[in-house]
Every structure is written in structure tokens, then in C-alpha cells.
Amino acid sequence: MALKTWKELPIGCVVSEPGSASEYHTGSWRSQRPVWNDAKCIKCGICYVFCPEGCVQQGEDGFFRANLDYCKGCGICAHECWPKAIEMVEEE
């Protein structure tokens, strides 16, 4: 997405398209990403509940993954996961 010049900005930077925040991929901020160990996961969904981005989703197999377009790597899921099934791994 090409960045707008100052002349192209709407007056007052009003965002006229509802839901357009999803176009902004905050995943680029991440320095660590969560990796699930499905062998330890009990599918309790606490990671899903606590994710402040709402980017943890449950797959058809019942296991959880983060949408890496939006995951900022905050590590809250790994901190809250009491069976310790989530490990935060450094991004390259």
C-alpha cells in the first residue's frame, strides 16, 4: 500500500472506511512469535481469551494459532498458558 503524501491526507485524517484498521498489519512490530506445542495443549482456550489483539484463533482440529499479520508478540498467551504449551521464539 503506497503511503499518502501530506496533500493526499483527508481533512482531519478522518477515516471514512469502517474496519480499515485490519489493513494495518501490526504483526510487523513483533520481535518474538508464539509457537504452540500441540502435544502439551489441552485446548482450554485461555490463550484465545487473553490475547489483547484478538488474533488467536482455534482451528478445525481444536488447536490454537496466532494470526501473524496482527500478533505483536506480546507473549501474554505464553504467560497465561498454564500447561506451558506456548513458547515465544525470536523472530529472525
Binding site: L9, I11, G12, C13, V14, V15, P18
Partner: protein, 391 residues
């Protein structure tokens, strides 16, 4: 023509705002602005104007409420003073960044500490860089006129910026003066209905005041700066239209006997009228003195200022605020900076005066001129002094 009336200026400002078909006002009373809040709430309570008067618990809330109302498409007004303005501070740049044409009357008063309720400009100066159009008035008539004009400037489609009108507390707000109050028909003719650039409405959802990171922040600041600079063109147009309708013309920089003046003084606000009397006294003594009055503070009128002072040998800039530990008064610093690149410019002197309501009668102004005229070696040039302070 409007009706000739005698009235307290603060009450008259509320009356004038009442003529502007405002949709809402959120004003928290604070001395010396309180009469504006009280009278405006009377007008609403008595059904004289069809507007919401939102009673708020602080000035922070007042500014928040007018931001919300303006965002929803309402013509919104507020007024404050001193500590109230300081409490609004964090919201002022947000109102201008969101390009909300809010109008605010400021009854200028010293900021604490020590606690003081009287007039100077220490409250508005810290708000200088908030991105608001900012103007100063000299008397009651100007206070009324600018209170009405402010809406037209703010809401112009090429401006869409908030405007503050600075009215010296007590010195102006509490004076009973004779002036012409425009009629409702005249104001209706002058001020078209407010057409917002966007509104908060469920039928057409928008986001106002969204988040922006380093990839956009600078572009947004640049756009805001350009918007404020470009507003001068509209300000001049609107003042000229006002002159045609009401016969009272306004300029960003007003001058008095400055044409052939060798020594000039620059004032902002109500002190201009007293200084004008000092000019007359000096002229009677054969001294070529003149006065430059700065009405428009933001956007700063560079061209007009340069033209007004270019032939003078000496320029006394007066300030009613001080930048502690800095170059002197904020106006002084601004004027010096504006003239820095000019080949021909006057020697500039700075007096900080009238702080916390200290009265400055005509002989004091004459005294400033005499002191600067006596400075043959130029040792006072570019320096500042607290005028009349006890040593």
C-alpha cells in the same frame, strides 16, 4: 445597522455568541470568564437561544465536550481563563488536528503561582503551538465582532480549524462599554449554517482521531501547519466582508501614526489603547513615535509585520508574559525571529509589563519610550527588562 448599547463586555460576548446559532456550549466558569458562562447559560435556560448548555465538571471536560459535539456536527463554543486554559491544554492540539472549528473566548488571566486572578497573557502563551487560530482584541467592540467572526473563519471549508479570541480579563471583560451590537438578521446574513467536513453519524460511520505512527505523523503535522498558514487568506477575506457589512475593518497588524515613526512600540490586546495615548503625548513633544498592534497571533502575519516596522530605527516590543530563563517575552522572541533575515530592521527592545494585572498608565508607556530613546550606545538592544519592577 446594529443597535448602540452599553453593556459589560463579558455579557456582550455571550450575547454575540448567542446570535451565532450555536448548537451547544460547554463552559466551566472561572474568573474573569464567569460572566460569559453565566450569561450564556441564562440565554439557553430562558429559551432565548436554541442550544444545549452542557454543564461540565472541569475545563478538561468542557474542551472534551465541545470536541465531541463539533465532531458530531454541532456549532460548539466554550470559554475559559488561566488555570482553566491550562487544564484544557492537552486537548487543544487534538481539536486542531481533528480540524474541528470550535470557537473559544479566553478572558486572559495570569497563571498560578502565586494564585492571581488578574490580567496578563501568561495563560495563552503556553498554548501558542496548539495549532489554533489565535487573535487578540483591544476593546469591547472588537471582542463582540471577533466572537462572531471567529465562527465564520473557523468553519470556512478551506480552514476548518478552531479559533481562540483573547480578551484581556477584567481590563476588558468587566468594563462597561458602549458598542454596536449586530442584529440577529445581520448575523444571519453574515454567518451561513455550519457544514462540517465529516460528522459522527451511524448512517455513515467514520473514525475521528485515529492512531498514526512514524510513517504518517510527520505528513499529518505538515498538513496541519499548511492549513494554519493558509487560513490567513480566509481571515483577511472574512474581515473584509465584515468591514463591508458593518463598517469596522480589521487587519492582522494595526498601526497608529507609524508611517513616519522613528521609534515604534508593539502591543497586543487592551494595552494598545493606552499606548496610543502615550504616542499622542510623545508626538506633542515632537518625538516621531508610532504604534504597531498585533491582532493576529496565529497564523503569524509575517508580511504585515515586516511592512509595518521596516522604516523605524527602534522597536519596543512589549510582552505580558515571560519565557523564564529564555530570550525574554514570547512576543519579543517571535518578532526578533520574524525580522532576522531582513536587511533593514529596527533595533529591538523588550519590556515585560502588566503582569498579574499590574496597571500600566500612560506615563509608564512614555517612560519606556524615553528610556529607549536615551539608549544612545545601544546597550539595551536585544535585552529584556521587567518594567517597573522594584529593585
Amino acid at each position: 445597522m446594529g443597535k448602540r448599547v452599553g453593556m459589560e463586555v463579558a455579557i456582550a460576548v455571550a450575547e454575540a455568541v448567542g446570535l451565532c446559532d450555536i448548537d451547544m456550549a460547554a463552559v466551566y466558569p472561572i474568573t474573569p470568564q464567569s460572566h460569559i458562562a453565566e450569561h450564556l447559560s441564562d440565554l439557553v435556560a430562558n429559551g432565548e437561544i436554541d442550544a444545549e448548555f452542557v454543564t461540565v465538571e472541569s475545563e478538561h471536560s468542557a474542551m472534551s465536550a465541545v470536541i465531541g459535539a463539533s465532531g458530531a456536527g454541532a456549532r460548539a463554543f466554550t470559554a475559559t481563563s488561566s488555570q482553566g486554559l491550562m487544564l484544557m491544554h492537552e486537548l487543544l492540539p487534538i481539536a486542531s488536528a481533528m480540524r474541528l472549528p470550535i470557537c473559544m473566548a479566553i478572558a486572559n488571566r495570569a497563571i498560578s503561582g502565586p494564585l492571581n486572578i488578574l490580567n496578563d497573557h501568561t495563560d495563552i502563551m503556553p498554548q501558542r503551538d496548539s495549532g489554533w487560530i489565535s487573535m487578540f482584541v483591544e476593546n469591547g467592540q472588537e471582542a463582540i465582532d471577533m466572537s462572531i467572526i471567529a465562527f465564520k473563519i473557523a468553519e470556512h471549508k478551506d480552514v476548518m480549524l478552531p479559533v481562540n479570541v483573547n480578551i484581556d480579563g477584567f481590563q476588558l471583560t468587566h468594563m462597561v462599554e458602549p458598542f454596536e451590537m449586530p442584529t440577529q438578521e445581520e448575523v444571519n446574513q453574515f454567518l451561513p449554517p455550519f457544514v462540517p467536513h465529516a460528522t459522527l453519524h451511524p448512517a455513515k460511520p467514520v473514525t475521528m482521531g485515529a492512531f498514526a505512527m512514524s510513517d504518517y505523523f510527520a505528513e499529518i503535522m505538515k498538513a496541519k501547519d499548511e492549513a494554519l498558514k493558509n487560513s490567513k487568506k480566509v481571515i483577511l477575506e472574512v474581515w473584509s466582508e465584515w468591514a463591508k457589512l458593518f463598517g469596522r475593518s480589521y487587519k492582522p497588524v494595526e498601526t497608529y501614526k507609524s508611517e513616519d515613526a522613528e521609534i515604534l512600540m508593539l502591543t497586543m490586546g487592551s494595552m494598545g489603547e493606552t499606548a496610543q495615548m502615550a504616542i499622542d503625548e510623545l508626538r506633542d513633544k515632537g518625538i516621531k513615535a508610532g504604534l504597531v498592534k498585533l491582532r493576529l497571533w496565529r497564523p503569524f502575519p509575517f508580511e504585515e509585520l515586516k511592512a509595518a516596522v521596516k522604516n523605524a530605527k527602534k522597536l519596543i516590543v512589549t510582552d505580558r508574559a515571560i519565557s523564564f530563563g529564555g530570550p525574554g517575552g514570547p512576543v519579543f522572541s517571535e518578532i526578533k525571529s520574524a525580522l532576522y533575515a531582513e536587511n533593514q530592521r529596527p533595533l529591538i527592545y523588550n519590556y515585560i509589563y502588566g503582569l498579574g494585572g499590574r496597571d500600566i498608565p500612560v506615563p509608564e508607556f512614555v517612560g519606556m519610550f524615553e528610556k529607549v530613546l536615551a539608549d544612545k550606545t545601544g546597550q539595551l538592544v536585544d535585552s529584556y527588562e521587567f518594567w517597573g519592577v522594584r529593585e
